[in-house]
Symmetry: C2
Subunit: 204 residues, 2 copies
DNA sequence: AGGGTTATATACCTGATAGTACATTTGTAA
DNA sequence: TTACAAATGTACTATCAGGTATATAACCCT
């Protein structure tokens, strides 16, 4: 059994950078949503033709899902790293300030593609909508687990309901995405983050 | 100059109820968004043919805008009535509980059409997106004015920044729309409302 | 140099899209 | 009863959607 190389050397080599093309696709989906994005939008942004797109990424839906994966694994993604902060308060802090910085970043479309990519959509986009929903729910679940762990560690008071706290924080973060989409600046979002943190339950 | 009657009696009478048809159109736009809704979706839901739709409502965009107007003037709309409550705290209370009840109401599509109708969209929907953005911003502005008035009335502490408080509350409300879209129940949203109110600045 | 293999560009396919022309129906007013 | 006005149903248009067939171009290995 021979090793399978990741970039097969047989045949004509691909003339474009898949990662760069995927970044471009992500940007278009992020700005226009799944339903609002046409294949022409995509091929123009990616600088390739339709057959290349289909050969490399499958179809529109699979391309979207791959773009979302890229989105979550980018260097500026802040969700998972925030969960690793030592205390519940610091987790919330990093989530809120990370959201403020990233969602209003002028180098990207405003808001969050996980939220606005297919919030309400055609039947053709149902699978995509569900994939996004699952990610949002999953993120909130991870947050809840982190807060439960914090209670056990003693840096979150016993009386706090981890599930409700996670849902509340998720709600604020999701609201910040809408604010950013509305044109709110990073500073304005930081003010919302501060006000949220003022009421955040702390140890002791 | 003779009076112009609202329902002209000349010519063949309209065979459908415009208000009922508009309700149906609203429901489709609400569920599928502007880009995700086709004229076929609309005519099927409204029970009329395309020429009737165009004669009565102009075109897809104008129909959407009229549906939004209906949405804001429905009996269950809670935003404007909430602003008239006597204190800032009660305003927030009614907004939050009104959102919890309405956005998760199983008799309607989940969430809020002002938020999810055209959050990210094609260029063809740009005007619609802007109309929705303006309404969101306008709502927040009204809320800010209400809180400024509350400060003068003395039921909100002097140190509170009305603009930031309005933006924070708007963020939570918008986040609740995403939560509802995600399938959160009215009870779950009420928990978020309660947690938000716990931290709400009160007089004295 | 030639065969195998993969990517590319062009051109195409089928079905759906928003919007409309037209002939017909249904009502009011004279 | 006839003239007029507006709404209706059918059928249509032009364009665009997502997706593909095919011929050609570029590369590796032998």
């Amino acid at each position: 059994m021979t090793a399978v190389s990741c970039t097969p050397t047989i045949g004509r080599p691909r003339a474009f950078d898949m990662d760069a093309a995927l970044e471009k696709a992500l940007e278009v989906f992020w700005r226009k949503g799944y339903d609002g994005t046409s294949l022409t939008d995509l091929t123009e942004a990616m600088g390739i033709n339709k057959p290349s797109l289909y050969a490399a990424f499958g179809n529109k839906e699979q391309l979207f899902l791959k773009a979302i994966e890229l989105y979550e694994s980018r260097p500026c993604a802040f969700f998972i790293p925030a969960l690793e902060k030592p205390t519940a308060y610091q987790v919330a802090e990093h989530l809120l300030y990370g959201a403020a910085m990233n969602m209003a970043d002028k180098n990207n479309p405003q808001g969050c593609v996980i939220i606005q990519g297919a919030l309400s959509c055609s039947e053709a986009a149902a699978a995509v909508k569900e994939a996004l929903m699952n990610r949002r729910v999953d993120g909130e679940h991870k947050l809840r687990q982190r807060f439960e762990q914090a209670k056990q560690a003693g840096d979150l008071p016993e009386h706090v309901d981890a599930e409700v706290l996670a849902r509340y924080l998720g709600t604020v973060l999701q609201g910040m995405a809408i604010q950013a989409n509305n044109g709110a600046s990073a500073d304005q979002l930081r003010q919302v983050a501060e006000m949220t943190l003022l009421a955040f339950p702390r140890a002791g």
